[in-house]
Amino acid sequence: MTTQTPAILPERGLADRLTALFWRHPRLLLAVLLTPPLLWLGVVYLGSLAALLLQSFYSIDEFSGLVKQEFTLKTYAELFRAQNLDIIIRTLVMSAAVTIGCAVIAFPIAYYAARFAKGKWKAVFYLGVMLPLWSSYLVKVYAWKLILAKEGIITWAAEGAGLSMVLNAILSIPGIGGNSLSTSPLGTFLVFVYVWLPYMILPMQAALERVPASMLEASADLGASRAQTFRTVILPLAMPGVIAGSIFTFSLTMGDYIIPQIVGTSARFIGLAVYQLQGTAGNIPLAAAFAVVPIVIMVIYLMIAKRKGAFDAL
């Protein structure tokens, strides 16, 4: 009955020898896999961050314009000068507004994709969300400048629909308005929301996908209205995704230096300040100190989020 197959199969060269080696020493494979990314993360990534941090504790000599390599908190103190504090607050407010704007727009899209889209429509969703990422960031921003310009399609459409009054009323609101959409903080906000939206939708969708349908049914079954289910079940369970998305939108906005140059009032944001300080001004320490600000803000933000229980569902 038994055929002539051996109980142990012969080794077929290097691949089998490596497989045997990894089978005998499982940690070896892990080490081989993890060494390159850890080197990258540890040396290149965290290393440069450490270098940046170090630079921010140096200062610039006011007479020679050279960097004095001595430990000092002078550069950080400079951050609190009115004009610099202005930049920080402006950036913070814009980042928060962009994050909230993205979250509000992203939620229904992510919810639809996670709950209802199936098969073909799911593919359409991914394509629709990712498509804007395929084209150049600069082109998109310039396109928006044209869209928002005084001669642009929005002004034209508002005139056509007899809504010029509304547009002008919005533009006359101090703080967010301006001469035209393309030269107002509102315009900067719209472009930011547009370019970072996919980074909010995708993590949100992933988080919502992990909420079982029976959870929502259980909530309704126990007497909750839709609003209560949203507040007490969907939102807490999707929170890690919302936080992940907000980290993207928040930190991307805080670090961006192109959009505020092209669309808006050309008031400076942190990214732009860093760009100018390390370039034309040659003030690397202050640029580094500015660059530390978003990091500190993100750490504070995450600590508050954690204390509020945003990661309980992880």
């Binding site: 079982p212 029976s214 959870m215 049914e217 309704a220 079954d221 126990l222 007497g223 007490t232 079940v233």
Partner: protein, 335 residues
Amino acid sequence: MTAAVEFQNVSRHFGPANAPVKAVDGVDLTIAEGSFFAMLGPSGSGKTTCLRLISGFEKPTGGVIRIFGQDVSDIPPNRRNVNTVFQDYALFPHMNVRDNVAYGPMVKGVDRRTREAQAEEMLALVKLEGYGDRKPGQLSGGQRQRVALARALVNEPKVLLLDEPLGALDLKLREAMQDELKALQARLGITFVFVTHDQGEALSMADSLAVFNEGKIAQIGTPKEIYSHPRTRFVADFVGSSNVLAPEVTRAFGGPAKWASLRPEMLRVTAADGVALSGVVTGLRYLGAGSRVTVAVNGTEVAAQLPAGQAVPEAGAVVGLAFDPSALHVMEGER
């Protein structure tokens, strides 16, 4: 007695109107108040859809559903005083056990002190005192099941729906929970509607049960009626795997020329000579609490169940079969 739940010609069709999938197809059903009602059937037979129609997660495409006499066609789930124990329990992972149980009162606006006291009381009812601060992820399957039960019962529902609640538990735990559920129902007097594909569970727990097949009710009655008088071939076969005899075989077994059911445990294996029925043993199966012997009688295989301790014939032996004529049950239809 009022009917807790009443179905009048209820249908739930899915898909296109020209070729619908008839998950539930013209079901008439009355569940008496205070009863323990089981919906039994194979997967895809429509039993779970019926349960979801009562809770409101599905809307009927035809017919009328009444809960305590009220038409619930336009009533969303959150306003039906009916609670469900879900198959996967659906406990909220971000809340501790106490907050899970107190969820119903919480969304109804009961203050924290009161609802937490209610939750503790319910946890005591399901024997989980002191577990309030744990997260669902820290509990075993059986404990999660109890939390789900407590979370539903805290709302004092008029009807409690249980969707295969014991399916995920191991045998020992399942039997213990069966007894507990039964005792709980007797104590609380709430109408329980219980979906299961396990015929043993349905027979042992329910006051009355409906056997589902292909979206329709094949038979409805007490467990005893259904077991001893299956109306159709499907019921006879699904509930307790009976010998289903074709008309000509029934005739050979001494009955009328109609489909009939004969339970294996009603058959006795005897010596071959001097009996009306005899055949060759074609299969033997050891069951622990007895043995099952398959005997080929004129080409028809008939199973007989022998109690433990009784001598078991050898395969290939010629044996006789005997039974009480009243055990031969004649059926009406096939489905």
